[in-house]
Structures are given as C-alpha cells and as structure tokens.
Symmetry: C2
Subunit: 534 residues, 2 copies
C-alpha cells in the first residue's frame, strides 16, 4: 500500500511525474510567457523535524507514532499555503505524536491522557482541510488523533434507509461498504477521496446535491461524540422539535467540542434514473438568472451548477463569452424526463439555449453503465472536478499562486458582490503577480441565493508565493465581508478564516460557543484556535 504524500494532495504514487511538470511548464509558458525549470519535489530525506516534545503515554503507545513522515503528513491540510509549506519542508511546529485509535475506548484513553496532562488534541479525519483546521497551534505538546482506523459501517437499516457509520471512514471506503447493499450516502465533496464522515460533519461539508440538501447537515440522523466531559449521543430521530437541535450544535464544531466517533446517517437507494442538460447562456448574468428561476421553482435538481465564461471555456470548451448552466436530476425510483424538460423550459425562458438532442435522459439505466450527465460539456466538467486537486499539485514549486474561495449571498446582493470580489482579486493579482486569472462557478444554489466559488491564479516569484497569496486572500475575504456574504459556505472556518469569521458571527453567539466549549472541554485541549479563542 502506498503512503500519503507529506506535502501534496493524495498518495505518493500519484505525485507529479516529470511529464506532468513538463506539461505544466508548457502551460505556464503559454499563459504567462515565462520559461521555468521544473521544480524538484521533496522527499523524506529533506525532512528535518523538531524531535517530539513528549512521548506517548504507555497506555496509548501501542497505537501511536512519532515517525517524521507521519508527523509531517499530519502537520497541515492541503490548501495552497499548506502545499507550498510542505513542498518547502517548512514544518517548524509539527505535532509531536500521531495517535491511531482503533476503538472508541482507545480514543477515550488518548483524550484522558491529553486532558489530564494539558496536551493539545487535534482530531484528524482525512486531512483535506483547506482552512488549517488540523494545524497545531503554539503549545507545549500536541497529539494529532487520526481517526481513520474507525472506518466501518456498523449497521444498515433497510426499512428506514439509515446506517450507523464510524466517523473515521474515508469517502471511497464508505461507499464501498454501502454499495453491496444497494445504498449510497451520495456525499461527494471534491475532497471525497481523502475526507472522512466525521470530518464532513465537523465542518458542515457541502456535498453532491446542488439544491435542497446541500450540506451534510441534512443527512445526519444522530451523532455520537466523545468529549472530555463524557459521551454525547443523540437519539435516532427522523425529525424533532425538542429544544435546539443537539446535532446542530455538533455539526460545524470543527473538533473544538469533542471527537465525533460515529453517526447514524440517512442513506439512499442508488439512482437508476438520470437526466441532465448543459444550457448555454450569453454571459454570466443570464445564466445566474436561469439558476435562480430553476431553484425558485423548487424542483430540487441534484445538479445545478453555473460556470462563468472563463470556467466554461477552461472546463467545457465554450467560447469564453458564454456561460454554462448544468442541470441534472436523478432518482432511484422515478423517471426524470419530465423534470429535466421543465427545468430546460425555465432555462430557455431565461435566455438559455440547448439543442433538444443534447438533453440526456437515461431511464432505468444501470448505475455503473449510465452515461447521462457524463457526456459532452457536462462530462468534461465532471472529470475536471475530480482531477483538479491532483492537477494543482504540479503547480507547486513553479511560483504559481492558485487558490479557491467560496461564499454564499442572497440573490439581490449577488451582482454587487461578484463585482467587488472580482475587482479585489484582480487588483491584488495585479499588485502581487502583475495580473492573473479569475473565474467563478456556483457549487450550490438556493431559492434565496447562490453559493459562488471563485478560482484565481497568478504567477509570482518562486519563494514569494505565500506573501502574494496572503495579500490576495485578504483582499478577497475583505470584499466578501463587505458585500455581506459568509466567509465560508462549505470549506469551514478553521484557523485561516478566523479574522473574517470573527466579524461575521454575532458576538453573543461567540460568547455562547465559548461557554459551550468550557462546559465540554474545561481544560481547553481540543483544537484550540479554531472558531473561537478561549
């Protein structure tokens, strides 16, 4: 079995090859006119970590590691900044111990050790955070608790379509365990390969569905969480009105209140009926209007993604002036032809165009063999989505500054926000990189507003990437705040988004959250610095 890379997205066997670097050098030359030598990615021999400041307690030593590769691999998430630092072997403050509990009892023992000895404990799922959610804060000692050995689907309830699942399971292993039973969780964030159920819940992950049930929140039936003050477990209920939802206090708590160990999740029969369409619009405003009208008609398509002209060009081969609106329906039980035709009619009324034969309807096709939604412009975009994190690995070391940021906003303020964010990004790219590229898509769409997702890229000097990145990120995040958006729609807050999150959340809520943390984690050992200060 291959190891995870300590700096890049994915496992070591999927790291950039010389051919990848050559292709990237050609792309950079084409786009920026620069001729650059391929970078040399780091190896274990380049690691020179501070020795662990603590040793594992004898009670937990058996399932703990102090190996350098392990500690480096768990030091950061996989944001642009993380990958640059990892590539540079810049690991000044690595975790001291990585614990791999295989049972909840082992986890409790680790937490007890940390709590009694005032050791910082960082819950770690797949490590795909892009907001420094797993990055050790300054502290005397840090244990990162890797939950990936808690990776089993424990129970499946066919009647209620729910499953009890351990929190450490990563996306592919989760789906592989559900598939033989005919089920799927259908939660496919871009981080799917290296993110865990517990991580999705702790970060309010955004998933497969572009409308209606956009976040993991809606698929949580009950949660079990170990806290320094005891076990928190909610009842399995399809719905409830008994006080504020206990689950909703955990969902989004990003590891500061406890460690999620398992959850009953609402699962689904695997879709057999699919229908999709890629509707082309003259420009983004018209496509956004189409998305709004479809969302407000409340058909709840599984897919409703708007690509601005830049993204539509890059990922779907359109002409650079046209925007693309991808609409898709799916069902395990019912044909979706009527739905797609109604949605296309709305899109056409809004100025969109699509040939009748480009509407793909696959009724009762086999899931695995189904090609609906996998063809043409729609299919091109889907492949890009899955491969993007790998492709970005190859940009690291060339001086490229590339990142994404996402938010949400109500429709009436969206055009102004878009203008503000784009101009903040372009101005900052100009200052730091002498220019660059900005594009936008909607990842999720609500009746009352879109969740826009911006991608930017520029070419800085090798060694100057982090400074340029910080300036661009600051400018864009400030614009999002000024425009009235959220600093994150589904990437979470972590440590990176704190300055803007602190402006966004109500002050009395921050006081309340601090009070909750003191109640559950009186020594403040759990993931300090995330979401709130003590």
């Amino acid at each position: 079995m291959t190891r995870r890379s300590f700096w890049a997205w994915g496992n070591e066997d999927r790291q950039p090859t010389p051919a990848d670097y050559d292709a990237m050098a050609r792309r950079i030359h084409q786009r920026y006119g620069a001729t650059l030598a391929p970078p040399k990615p780091p190896t274990d021999a380049d690691l020179n970590l501070r020795p662990p400041r603590i040793l594992p307690h004898p009670l937990v030593a058996e399932f703990c590691s102090t190996d350098d590769h392990d500690r480096a691999a768990h030091n950061y998430g996989r944001s642009f900044r993380d990958r640059i630092r990892g590539f540079n072997c810049d690991f000044p403050n690595p975790p001291d111990v990585i614990a791999y509990p295989s049972t909840e009892a082992e986890l409790v023992t680790v937490l007890d050790w940390c709590s009694n000895s005032n050791i910082v404990a960082i819950p770690y799922g797949g490590g795909s955070t892009v907001v420094a959610g797993v990055e050790p804060p300054p502290a005397n000692a840090v244990v990162t608790i890797d939950l990936t050995r808690l990776d089993q689907v424990l129970e499946i309830d066919d009647t209620s379509r729910a499953a009890r699942i351990q929190a450490g399971v990563l996306g592919p292993a989760l789906e592989a365990q559900l598939r033989p039973h005919g089920y799927t969780l259908r939660h496919f964030p871009q981080s799917f390969e290296f993110s865990s159920l517990g991580g999705w819940i702790a970060t309010r992950s955004g998933g497969h569905y572009a409308t209606n049930h956009t976040h993991i929140d809606d698929f949580v039936e009950s949660v079990r969480m170990v806290t320094p003050s005891g076990v928190w477990e909610s009842r399995r209920l399809p719905g409830s009105g008994a006080g504020p939802s206990p689950d909703r206090m955990i969902i989004g708590s990003e590891g500061i209140l406890g460690v999620i160990t398992e959850a009953w999740m609402r699962i689904q029969a695997r879709p057999r009926f699919r229908a999709s369409a890629g509707v082309v619009f003259d420009g983004m405003a018209a496509a956004a209007q189409g998305a709004r009208l479809i969302a407000q008609a409340k058909q709840w398509p599984a897919n409703l993604r708007m690509l601005d002209p830049a993204e539509a060009e890059d990922f779907a081969g359109l002409d650079g002036t046209q925007a693309l609106l991808i609409v898709g329906f799916e069902s395990a039980e019912l044909p979706q032809g009527d739905n797609i035709r109604q949605a296309v009619a709305i899109a056409r009324d809004a100025g969109g165009s699509i040939d009748e034969e480009a509407i793909v309807i696959a009724d009762a096709a086999e899931t695995s063999g189904s090609s609906a939604g996998r063809q043409g412009a729609v299919g091109s975009w889907r492949n890009s989505f899955i491969n993007a994190p790998y492709e970005r690995n190859a940009t690291i070391g060339f001086g490229i500054v590339a990142e994404t940021l996402e938010t949400s906003i109500t429709w009436e303020r969206w055009p102004a926000m878009d203008e503000m964010v784009r101009s903040a990004l372009q101005d900052a790219l100009q200052r730091t990189c002498g220019g660059g590229r900005v594009s936008c898509r909607f990842t999720h769409v609500y009746p009352d507003g879109p969740a826009p997702y911006y991608t930017f890229e520029g070419l800085a000097k090798v060694g100057g990437e982090l400074e340029a990145h910080a300036e661009i990120k600051q400018a864009a995040s400030d614009a999002v705040m000024t425009a009235g958006g959220t600093i994150t729609h589904h990437h979470a807050v972590g440590r990176s988004h704190r300055p803007w999150y602190d402006q966004q959340r109500p002050d009395p809520f921050a006081d309340a959250l601090r009070a909750v943390k003191r109640s559950l984690d009186p020594n403040g050992i759990l993931n300090p610095g995330v979401l709130i200060d003590p």
Copy 2:
C-alpha cells in the same frame, strides 16, 4: 374588536354557544351513554386573582397592563390542562404585569428592568402553547412580555424571495401583509390563528409541508434576538458552513436565551398548480407503508398525511377499517399532474386504491378559487383540522379528558412504538375513565420515519379531569420514551414535557445549553424552568 377568551381557544365571540353545548351533550350521550347538563363557562366576574406583587417600572408603565382579564388570559397556554384550569378560574400564580412593547427599544427597556430587578420575564407570542411554555414558575415577580404589537412585515425582497418580519405578528396578519405582493410564508400550524412568527421559531414549529421542509427551521434566513447580554443578529445567508449555525441555537430555544424580535424569512410565490389524492388502504400498516415509499421516492409532496381507520372514519367518513393516505402537491410555477400520478402509482403498488377520477388536478387555477385538495375525503379532513381547537372548547366542563400527543420515530421501530403507545393510552383510559378512544395520524413524513400524532378521549368525572389526564399523559409519554421516540416533534418542550425531555437529550448537551443560558442571561430571568433548570 373582540377580546381573547381568558380560558378557551380563540376570542370571546367564538366561545361555545348553548347550541354547541347541546350538541356536545348529545355526542357524549351517544358515545358514553351519560346524560350531562351543559356546563356554565366562567366570566370576568369569576376571576379573583392575587393582586400584582409588583407595579410596572415608570419607564415601561405606559405600555403595561395589570388588568385581571389580561393577566388571566396570559397565565396559561391552551392545552387541555390549561383550558380546564382556566374554565375553573384556577389561577393561583398569574403573571403580575403584562408588557406590550411596540418597539425593540421598549422591549429592551422591559428586559433591562427585569434583569436589574431579578424579575422573571416570559416572552409571549400568541399564547397557543400546549406545553406550559408561558406559565409563570414560582417566583417573586413575573412580567409576561406580549410581543403582538411587533406585527409588521418590514421589507420584502422580491429577487431573493425573502421578507424581514417582526416576531410578534400572528399567522393571519402575516399572510395578509404578504398576500398583496403575491407571496406567502405557507406556515400553517393548527395554532396558525393565534401563534406568532417568533413563537414558531422559538418552538421549532411544524408547518404546512408534510415532507422535506417540515419545520419552520428551514425557512429562517436570519434571526434578530434581544438578550440580557446584548443583541444577537445573524447575517442573511441562503446557506452557510461557518461554524455551528447561530440560528439553530436560537431555533427551539423557547424563550430561555432571549426574545426574538425579527427574522428574515424565506417566502414563496403563492401556489397556482395543485394536485391531490386520497388513497384508501385496508388498515394502517398498509397506509403507513404507502407513506414510507412515497417519502423515500423523494418527490417531496406538500401533503402526505396518513389517517388511521379511527381518524379516517371521524374526519373523512370512511368505514372504520380503512385508513386514508392524503397526498398533495402544489407549485407556483409548474403543473403537478405528473407528480400526483407517480405518487398514486406508488400508493397503489403498496395496496392503496383510488378511482382515477378522484385524483384532483388543478392546473393554473386561481389560488383563492382552487378546489383541488378541498373536496371529498381530503376536504372534510381539512375543515376538521381548522375547526378542531374551537370544537374542543365545548368539551371543557363536561368531564371529557381529551388531548393530543405527537412524536417521531424511525420506520423500523414505528410498529412497536404504535403498539406501546396505544396500549399505554388504552390501559390508562380504562383505569381513569373506564375506557376511551385512541386514534392516530401522521402529520409529517420523512424518508427515515413518520411523525405520528395521537388523539385520545375519555369521560372522567367533572372535577377529576386533571388527575385522569395526568395519569394518561404520563403513561403515553413513558411509552414514547421507552420506544425510542422524541417527546415532541413540533409541540415543543416547555414545562410539561420536561420529565421526558430530560431523559431524551444528551446530558453533555444539557450542560452546554445551561452554559449558553448563563452566558446570555446571567441572572436567569428568561422563562426559567423551560427546557433546563439553571
């Protein structure tokens, strides 16, 4: 303008007439064989309240009342127990002062007065609570804050389909303000006439939609709440993943954390297309199966209500062995004929029967003139729903013990729960009333389980109603807990459900909620005894 009754559901001009009492006496004779004289409802002259223990502070005196009728009318909600006590003029612990702030500034002044003087403050919307949510606890002094003067729709955002609405507005006034703009909130709990937006949010009210968006929770875009520690206001966002949702901490907080003053709510275009069907099944198990399969097909019908044979007989005239499954779709934009045909096909596959011509499809009919879903069995049931609270007024004083209780449970445990709850109810009715009637319907249906709603009735001795009621309620609630359900799906916890809620919620969550309350309401003045003890 007519006043609210101090004991009954509704205004004084809708109280039982002599003819209503005669009809009720005949019904009782028919059902129980008893011949009873009509009761004599109380009047203001029968009130003999403890004098107020405090006087309004001069800063608030102008908008406060210490009138006996006012204080009696605000003493209780409108549960069975409340109405019996009100009818008996049993008001040993009335609130001392009723405050009617017209502005948020006035509300803040009242809260400051209460907080500085350690006076208990009880937020009060429409007063329709059935869980003693507004009933003063033992205290030195109590001010009930009636919010119904905060009754305006302040802003409407056509693009995002949202409105900023003051929390004290009651259902009909809210809809009347939205209607001229072509919108509706479409939140129609049975308490609609006398419940407020703020009350719906504070109690996680269950609304119009039987599937998908069952609770008010999903229609809240942002909330503004005044707390003793300052104003809590969240950003307007269509969706967010920034930490635990601040709104979800308020939603369901039942007045213990602050007073909700306004909210941005997601509103909707008024439906023009409707389709509905009443499908008949041999017995409840088959009808429940039909409901499950329709919910799991995720068409998200607006209406999906199962009536057991007893309810189907009482409200829809069926034969007493058949159960009724009501399915309805509605849309402002799209015809619903395909949807209803698909749902009926699923219901028929599950053993249901309906004549083809009984499927009502009203495409593009005017809202007001539309009769879809208002005819036959469906229409009978709808009228019963709206009038039920008034009809129950006439039972008070005859010795009738009648109440409803509601819960939710996952499908695989539902048959066992139903058996346990019914037998607990029947046994307790036997002990206390020598027998009685039990029936059940589903008010809301989820892919993973139903929200069953039980109605029971028996005849006790006049004067013995409360004792009988307490024994029946205890037995049924114990059964719900043992079966694994929630003590409330949408009636809230208040004070009445506390013993069972305390078993249900995770202990660490209760600690967390107490910590939140201490943070926001350090003197513990807000609605003490509800949800948690200090």
